[in-house]
């Protein structure tokens, strides 16, 4: 069965995000008042083969921990859906 995983990788709160800070400044310069806490992360989309949701989730967890994120500085989250939906 084909699954689609949408993985989001974000810097941990304690880690400085210079990209987010630069984007925030730029948004404020454009006149968007009250914008704060801008954080830039990564979005990774992938299809994978697995027999059921549980197996698909376990594989996405594994790849998120080992490669897609660096647990020292980043957190990850994901949504899983049947591919083609």
């Amino acid at each position: 069965m084909q699954w689609k995983a949408k993985v989001e990788v974000t810097l941990k709160k304690a880690v400085l995000d210079p990209q987010g800070a630069a984007v925030e400044k730029s948004l404020q310069a454009l006149g968007y008042d009250g914008v704060s806490q801008v954080r830039v992360g990564k979005y990774i989309e992938l299809n994978l083969e697995a027999n059921d949701r549980e197996e698909a989730a376990a594989r996405v967890e594994d790849m998120s921990r080992r490669l897609l994120s660096n647990p020292v500085i980043e957190d990850y989250s994901y949504v899983l859906q049947e591919a083609g939906l």
Partner: protein, 237 residues
């Protein structure tokens, strides 16, 4: 005494390291292709600078799964000397062979300039020829060099004397101005717990000849050679 320099796709300081070891230090050195499953019988493995796999995802994140990295981990586990320079440092942190991580420079700029670093641990095979607090001038050239470790890890590293180099001014004072990338506590280089794996962002291999403006990088290589020579002598007794 044999040096090996790993060549990953996208390494670009492999030649600099090779040149320094062969032509300046007159020691045996060979390239090791990233697809190798063994590092052979070598005494020192250098992971050079560059942009492995285009720095995609994170610097060093993909290179650390190269076939040769299992061999590097085994080599390190047995006490072999491993030196990661710049991107090589990033690969070693991604591989978990060194603590912490290297993040985007806080000013978002790529920095290519001479810096000063202070030797904060001179009891390692990589630094034993330097006096404690010795200030070395070396170049940096990176966009992702901001060192980070979570607070509890940092405390553990301090307790184990794992912070090897700090960015300082010419006099050896840790100042915000001397920090080229926003590294936590001006950290420029660290070691593993056992002290046989070291990584640093500055380039000692590019500071080994007068024509390059500084020869301070030689201290690191000469330390390694002294350490290994001493060991060979002991081994021969």
């Amino acid at each position: 005494m044999k040096f090996g320099v790993i060549v990953f796709p996208g390494s670009n300081c492999d030649l600099d390291s090779y040149h320094l070891v062969r032509d300046v230090l007159n020691k045996e050195v060979e390239y090791i292709h990233y697809s190798e499953k063994s590092v052979g019988r070598r005494d020192v493995i250098i992971l050079p600078g560059g942009f492995t796999y285009g720095d995609y995802l994170r610097s060093g994140a993909i290179a650390r799964f190269s076939p040769v990295m299992n061999a590097v981990a085994e080599f390190a586990d047995k006490g072999g000397l491993v030196l990661g320079i710049c991107n090589g440092f990033q690969v070693l942190t991604e591989a978990g062979l060194l603590p912490g991580a290297l993040c985007r420079n806080h000013h978002l700029q790529f920095r290519c300039e001479q810096v000063f670093v202070r030797v904060d641990n001179n009891s390692l095979p990589f630094t034993l020829s330097a006096s404690l607090g010795k200030v070395l001038e070396m170049p940096v050239a990176h966009g992702d060099g901001s060192y980070y470790a979570p607070p509890e890890l940092l405390e553990e590293m301090k307790a184990n004397d794992q912070i090897v180099f700090r960015y300082t001014d010419q006099n050896g004072d840790v100042t915000p101005q001397a920090n080229p990338n926003g590294s936590l506590e001006n950290i420029a280089g660290v070691c593993n717990r056992a002290g046989n794996v070291v990584g640093l962002m500055p380039h000692p291999e590019r500071a080994g000849e007068k024509v390059l403006g500084s020869r301070h990088g030689l201290i690191i290589f000469k330390s390694i050679i002294s350490y290994l020579t001493g060991r060979e002598v002991v081994r021969n007794v």
